[in-house]
Symmetry: C2
Subunit: 341 residues, 2 copies
């Protein structure tokens, strides 16, 4: 029913191997023959069957992209960038969602393994051991997590956290609070460590609240606890939580940033849409997606397993303002630092 290489061969009077070569090794076939074959192929509407090709070459020209939650606004820009980038290199992308479940994650990697040339594992919830395990079944690039000997793309959240803390210290805040994210998250640990160290180094008190599910509701739910600590500035694991907190505070009549400052992480689209607009540490998710794809596709060539760290940038908006120890005249400056694609 579908038109195959054989049909094209018959119609153009050559052997199937010639047709095959016309597509996969054009330089090996006479230009005249080639154009003739190409013409009949076009006419018949021939499209190479990738499954058959994959069977014999061992390369599927597919990659897998596994994320914890497609609907989490952090991921779509990354998925989009990765997919577009992959397609430009003639690769198709399987996208799968684990619903934050490490077991599903493992199964998914295994199920996809035979069908792809490699997998992008984004913000994995598996243990390091499990990852080491599945890595033997299929080439892997991990995003948002650093594991020895594994190719990875991470965002420099430590530096981002330090910038955020410094910003808050500069504004005169002396009691900072970190609204912690999910337990298994590498990013969460990094932020907490870096922010804690920077805060204490700056002579400020540092409180941690959590862990939390990384959704806006969790931020809203934490409002009472946040206020109870007496902190005047909050750094949240991600923008979603920050926004939840932001709105819940205002609903209670607590003014942001006058009474309390809030900083998020990620710079999702929504952060510029809420009022006050959210000060946040921008993560280059699109760049991460592209970098991960490149890394995966190069992996075949050499065995080199690089680890790439992408720069994060503090985007100062309107949710942060002077604190109780503000130097005279301290004020937030509007800085727009995000790079266009």
């Amino acid at each position: 029913m579908a038109v195959t290489i054989r049909d094209v061969a018959k119609a153009s009077g050559v052997h199937i191997s010639t047709v095959s070569r016309t597509f996969s090794a054009p330089h090996l076939v006479n230009p005249e023959t080639r154009t003739r074959v190409l013409a009949t192929a076009e006419e018949l509407g021939y499209r190479p069957n990738r499954a058959a090709r994959a069977l014999i070459t061992g390369r599927t020209h597919n990659i897998g992209l596994i994320v914890a939650d497609i609907a989490n606004p952090f991921f779509p820009p990354m998925i989009k960038a990765a997919e577009t980038h992959a397609r430009r290199r003639d690769y198709h992308v399987f996208v799968a969602d684990t619903d934050e479940d490490p077991v599903v994650e493992t199964d998914l990697v295994r199920a996809l393994a035979k069908q792809v040339d490699g997998i992008l594992l984004c913000s994995p919830r598996m243990s390091d051991d499990q990852i080491e395990q599945v890595r033997r079944e299929v080439p892997l690039v991990v995003v948002n997590r650093l594991i020895d000997g594994l190719p990875a793309v991470v965002m420099d959240v430590g530096t981002g956290a330090r910038s955020a803390v410094r910003h808050l210290l500069d504004l005169g805040h002396r009691h900072l609070l970190y609204l912690s994210g999910p337990r298994g998250s590498w990013t969460n640990r990094e932020i907490r460590k870096a922010a804690g160290a920077a805060a204490r180094a700056g002579g400020a008190e540092f409180t941690v609240l959590g862990p939390h599910v990384p959704v806006s509701q969790a931020g809203a739910d934490a409002t009472g606890a946040v206020l109870a600590t007496g902190a005047t500035a909050v750094l949240a694991y991600n923008d979603l939580m920050a926004i939840g907190l932001l709105q819940a505070l205002q609903d209670r009549g607590v003014a942001v940033p006058e009474q309390i400052s809030v900083v998020g992480f990620d710079d999702i689209a929504t952060s510029a849409l809420v009022r006050p607009t959210l000060t946040t540490v921008a993560n280059p998710t699109a760049a991460a997606g592209r970098a991960a794809v490149d890394m995966l596709l190069q992996q075949g060539d050499d065995g080199a397993t690089g680890q790439v760290t992408l720069r994060t940038d503090l985007v100062i908006r309107n949710s942060t303002g002077p604190g109780p120890y503000a130097p005279a005249g301290a004020t937030t400056e509007q800085v727009a630092v995000y790079a266009k694609e």
Copy 2:
């Protein structure tokens, strides 16, 4: 290198066909033999090669999902639902992004055709003719567009638009404005027609502004034009535009809903996060994703090409309020109508 059916056969002392049947037709093999084969398969870590299976059966157990823009918050919940639903039926999902380009869309369908058992075309930008064309190369289910003879899943945006208009009329608005979406969009046409008819039937003036790119910036940019019309209530093509308008109005000192009411479409997550929270017509995107997958997978069986229309619901929040002709005591009631998954 990878373990194949042959390795399992050798290791368990049976013919490869027996191993094959153990997996694809278990009832045809002796329970004893079966358990033995399964044991060695497990031990060797055998996983069936789907490409090989696809080659001979003609069924890939993959489906394609093509959307205009993964990063548009309207789509991720749909992608997520479709992927999860498909996986439960043992299908993997290719996701691809056309960047709103009809040409890319066509190429993508063609490129994916041989690799999938069918494609979900979400909010296509192609012409009806082009769709009819590619439909001959691969089974299709279209989401958010109605084409004669083509299986489709659409949201009942007409009814949604009428509810929204009625809500605004009840609140005493007599000049409504529709902030139009992109030109090629079927949904946009439906909303405009239904809203216009309902407004005029209610004795109200109805103005259309557009077309616009369906992003928040477009909503913000339209602010001046909106105010110039003198309309007291705005219905936007989608939430993103509504939110852009909402915030731009407030930034200009125009109070929402006191001076002007705003209604969106879709009910994306952000709509409940902005202040005032956005009154909007909720689209069952997740249900649509699931329905589309079901429809695609059933399509093989019979030739029946159903068309499913999903119910939309007006979610009244805080961006709508009494207009100039409000009956005494008119007020927005808080209604929560969205169905949990």
